[in-house]
Structures are given as C-alpha cells and as structure tokens.
Symmetry: C2
Subunit: 366 residues, 2 copies
DNA sequence: CTGAAAGCGCTAACAT
DNA sequence: ATGTTAGCGCTTTCAG
C-alpha cells in the first residue's frame, strides 16, 4: 500500500486533537457528538479524502450492510433484469450487493455461498442452478443464522423464505391457449423435474392437457435443460425421428430460441410447420420472426418483493421471524405464435379424430 | 448472531490444545507446520464447520484477493458475456469478484468505486458510463495505489491500463461494407463523442466516407446515447422529417434494435426501405428478421486480457508496473442486412450522380 | 459531550 | 515446529 493518500480515522483525530472514538461517532452522526464538532470533523474528513475501511468497520460492528446474490446466469434477460431491480432496491436501503454467478454449476454455487458467508453478508438471495441436488449448504447458511431467500428457482426444503412465480398456472395458461387455438398434437420441452420451475411448469402442462382430455404423448415431452442447446437438440431429435408435434410449449425462452434456430436450419417455418410458445419473456422476443408469444414474468415485482422480505428478515431476525413464501402471478403475452390455426384442415381432422376417440369436445376458434 | 454454528479459529485451537497461530498457519498450509498436525487441524476444522472470516483475514493481511468490476449495464449481452468470462478467469486465479452496476449513472459509478475502495479490493476493472465526464474519482483510485483497468469504455486520462476494441477500424469496416454494397446515402446513429467508443466509431464512419469521397450529410448523423430508445427516437425524427437515408450504421446493437422497432411500427421494411448495420454482436441478432449484420467484438478476449493485465499489475505494483494499453481487433459479421442492394435502379442513379459530381468511382457489386 | 479500554478474528514478526 | 506479542481500523461498552 504505497499510496500517498490513505487517510484513516487516526489521522483525522490527530489533526483536530480529538480521539478516534469522537471521529468515529461524528462520522456516523452519533447523537453523542455536538452538531458543531460533528460538522467540523466531517469537513476535515472530506478534505483529507477519508474513506472508511469496511473490513474494519464490519468486523467490529458485525454487520456488513451487504447482501449476497447468487444467480445461475447473467447473460440472460431474466436474471439481468432482476439484478438491476435488486440493485435499485438495495440502493434505496443503503445496502451493498455482492453478486455471484454460479454458471449453472452446483460446485460454484457452494463455493460462492461459502464466500458470501466468509464475507459476512447480512443476508442472501439465491436462484439455484438447474443441477443443484444437494441442499446441505443451505442448511449451513440457515444454521449460521444468515437470512436466506430463494427466488424463482427453489429447492424442496422447508423453513426458508421463497418468492416464486405461479409457474403451474402460468404453464397451464400457455397450454390452454394452444388448445384454444386448436392444437391437439402438443409437445412440451421441459426442464429437469428436480427443480421447482421444471416440475411446476410440467404439471401446468399436464393440468391443461388433462382438463381438455388430450392424451399426452410421452415422445413429445422432452426433459432436458433450460438452455438454447436443449431446445435445439430436442427439436432435432424429434425431427430426425420424423415425429414432430404441431406445437411446442417450452419451459424457458432460450429453449424456444433453440427451436427457432433448428427450424431455420431445417428450412421449416413457424407457425406453419411447428408452432411455439414459451415460459418467460425477454426483450428480444418481439423482434423474432414470428414474434414469440410467452408467459411473462414481472421481474421487477419478484426482485422488489424478494428484497423486501429479506430486509425484513434481516431486521427482525433477533426477535423471531417466520419464513415467508410468496407467489407472483404471470401474464399471458400473445404475439405472433400460437394465436392462429396453422392448417385449418389438418387441425379439424385432428380435432374430430380426437373428439371421436375421447368423447370430449375440443373447440377450435377460427 | 444467535447461531449455533459459528466456529472460529480459537475454538479449533482450544479443542486440540494448540495456539490460534498454529491453526491459522496450518489452515493456510504454511510450511512452519508439520504435515501431520496440519492434516489434523484441517480435519477438525472441517468437522466443526469452520469458515474463515474474510473481514478479519483481509483486514490483517491487507489484501483481499478480490477484484472489483464496475459495468454500466448488465441486462445486455455484451456486458453479461464479458462478466461471465471475467468470472472464469478470476476463479482460475482464486480471486473473488465484486460486481457493481452503475446503470449508466455517473453518480452511482462514483459511489460504487468508493465502496470498492472501502472494501479494499486488490484491483478494479471498469467500463465507464456514457455520461461520465468528471474523471477525478479515477485519480483518487490511482493515488490510493489500487490497480485500475479501463475496459472497452475508456476516459481520456493517461497513465492507466486500458483494453479496448479497435472501434475506429471496426466502424470503418462496417461503413465500407455499406459502400461496397452500393450505398451512398448513409447515416450514422452515433453515441456521445465524450466517450471513446462514441468518438472512435464516429471517426471510423468518417474515415470510410472520406476514403470513398462520399459527403457526410449532417442531418443523418444523429448523436445520442447507446440505448434502444435512442435508435427509436432518432429514426422517428428522420422519418417525420421525411429525410431518411438509405442505410444506417449504428454505434451499438440496441440502437439498431430501436430502428427495427420503429420500422416495424411504421410498417416499413428492412432492408428495402432502410438498411442497417451495427457495431456490436449479440446472441439475438441472428434471430432478428432480417438477421442483423454487425461488427463483432470478441468478448472472451477482452475479458481475459483485461484480467491478465490487472492481475499482473496487482502482483507487480510494488516493484513498479507501467500501465499497458491494448487494442483488440473486431470482426465483420455479415448476415442479412447490408449485403445487397435494395433498389438497383435508384442506387445506380445515386452512384452515377455521385460519381459525376465527385469525380470518384464508387463500385457497386450486384 | 468526550475518551480510555477492550476486542472483533485473523496474520506477521519475532521469539522459543 | 510451535507460541507470544502486537496490531490491522474500527466500534462498543463504560467512565469521566
């Protein structure tokens, strides 16, 4: 530290002939100190370019005014957007954010959580990776008394704060939309079931299919990951098996993008050859051709609510705080996919077929 | 801290009847300690769920093994991608990343820089906001002896590390491509000139126009920001003035997206009514319709090089380190825009006109 | 209103 | 090979 300029409290204290304690108190606006000396000290501090040493401050004060955030990805509209909102909320409340990116890797996730604990953050907001299956680390966090909140991606453990979207209803709405448009041959590119968003979205899909008495073709339910590659590969698989459904509901928008990519390569057309709707909105979807319809997740809402609950937990953790679990509703955003029959005749045939076989009426809106 | 489980070194020391110092050394693999006791201590530490307190460690060791990163945005492919690569590099080198997002706000930027200094980071990588015009804070960082590196967005100050793309040549290549395709009526949606990427890309535009002796129409040079809104508004302005060029080179891809949006709303067509090429690549561009051609920036390269230089600076700062300035070349990525004439006859007329007037030959490749 | 004493958890320098 | 001493910069008692 060969720097000219690294004022500490002691320097200020020496300069004005007072003690370090007085300086410390004055700088923090402690009522002990008279307004006059307080002002004087603050002025001098500014003149001398004083900056507090948070390591020392936090070590001694045993709180850091810092909250840790762990997300699986960052080059991704959903998380990018959430993080910006978390920052805003943190700023308002004079908290710092320590951001970690696990890159969908459970080992990284553990490492990051340990680091955050070692940095003595006041609380943690986390969206777990798609592969997280060992939940012990979360127990450790809890046992250490660090307020913890799971956001969007939630592990099956109890007694923790959670804020999630209503994935099941959202998925249901998407699939119901497909059915209302007239589709019967419906596929679902799903995520892992080990994670809530994978499972719940699958269940929503199932709910809708069941409600309309449409049998689920297991060949068309591809359980993979949440990424573009997963969508691409799943689609290619079905295509090469010559076993394409008419429309696909995807668990995330990158998966849908993967389908767009495959479709483009294969010289197919959306929605004529295959129609698509996805869970999750992103800025770019309205620029796709055709514009991708989706289930929109209000990211600002999840970010703000998560922060509010966590901050509340931090403030009240001494006097007993019971974990809260919140669900946020999603929006059905209709753009240019899954809004129209793609092949009136074939669909009519399919539907008639289906209705004959299943003694159940699917209405088609043309 | 009403937690059951917050082992500190002292607890370990007590348990095995040794001193805290021995534990500290053992845990860090200090050669002082015999392999045997070292192993023993490590085992016990693990059993007791010991996690180091970084605040204490860093306060006493006066280095934090942490580097601060400040970026203007995060819900943005370019920065998202860079950050992921920075994380990878940091991991390899056992560094932590403290990530701050300024949200294009110079005040936030200053605040974040102060926080990072207060947190005693070992070094800082920063991409400044589009509005940063007061560079004093960077001097403060330098004076404090904290290694500093500017990445991509660089202020006009000397004696600091910088890693940037060759914006001028990149822009030149984009505009030359437009000219080769046959455009003469070329506009540029530029950024602020106060920041290097704004200025350099403008200069590259100018270089190309000059090389081919095409006069620059100042009405078509819109100097605004780097966002989608800027592109949208600029385009709407030109449109409502009934003064559209044939093709536009944009300073960033969000600006181009803004044009796509305006074009869609106005019922115009790309590239028939207006052609576009932009600086900066993003995952989504190949899904736009038409696919947007651009100048690609190798994000992995800039991230890795930045980290390497910064780490080198950190290691050598005691024994004198001279700031390094690196330039990375860009790629011209041709997709579906600016690859073809949009109106052969008109362009031929334009070009003939132009050649007659300027005694210079622009070749059109049909 | 101000300050002296003690300590946060850890590490570096110097013994032993 | 292990321990003692001192201190990182700050905050929290508790006396004055």
């Amino acid at each position: 530290m060969a720097s000219k300029h690294n004022t500490i409290m002691k320097d200020i204290a020496n300069k004005i002939g007072m003690s370090v304690v007085t300086v410390s108190k004055a700088l923090r606006g402690h009522p002990d100190i008279s307004h006059k000396t307080s002002q004087k000290i603050k002025t001098i501090a500014k003149e001398m370019g004083y900056l507090p040493n948070y390591l020392a401050r936090n070590l001694s004060a045993r709180n850091s005014n810092t909250i840790g955030v762990v997300v699986p990805k960052i080059a991704h509209y959903f998380f990018g957007s959430i993080i910006e909102h978390i920052y805003n909320k943190a700023f308002e409340n004079e908290y710092e954010i320590l951001l970690s990116v696990s890159r969908e890797n459970a080992k990284n996730e553990i490492k990051h959580l340990q680091t955050l604990m070692s940095m003595k953050v006041d609380g943690i907001i986390i969206s777990i990776t798609q592969e997280t299956s060992d939940f012990e680390i979360f127990e450790v966090v809890k046992q250490r008394g660090i307020p913890l909140l799971f956001m969007d991606r939630i592990p099956p453990i109890s007694d923790v704060n959670t804020v999630a979207f209503n994935d099941r209803i959202g998925a249901f709405n998407a699939v119901e939309q497909m059915i209302k448009v007239g589709y019967v041959r419906i596929g679902h590119f799903a995520g892992m079931e080990s994670i809530n968003i994978g499972l719940q979205r699958y269940l929503g899909f199932e709910d809708a299919m069941n409600k309309y008495n449409i049998p689920i073709n297991p060949d068309w339910v591809m359980k993979a990951g949440f990424g573009e590659d997963d969508g691409y590969n799943s689609f290619m698989k079905l295509y090469s098996d010559d076993n394409l459904p008419d429309a696909i509901f995807t668990v995330t928008y990158p998966v849908a993008i993967g389908i767009y990519k495959a479709v483009k390569e294969l010289g197919l057309k959306i929605p004529e050859d295959i129609d698509v709707i996805c869970f999750g909105d992103a800025n770019m979807q309205k620029f796709l051709s055709p514009q991708l319809s989706c289930i929109g997740q209000p990211t600002e809402q999840i970010a703000e609510l998560s922060m509010e609950i966590l901050l509340d937990n931090i403030r009240k953790k001494q006097n007993g705080f019971s974990p809260r679990n919140k669900i946020i509703e999603t929006d059905l955003i209709l753009r240019e996919t899954c809004i129209n029959y793609k092949n009136r005749d074939r669909i009519l045939n399919d539907v008639n077929d289906h209705n004959n076989k299943h003694n159940r009426i699917v209405k088609v809106q043309f």
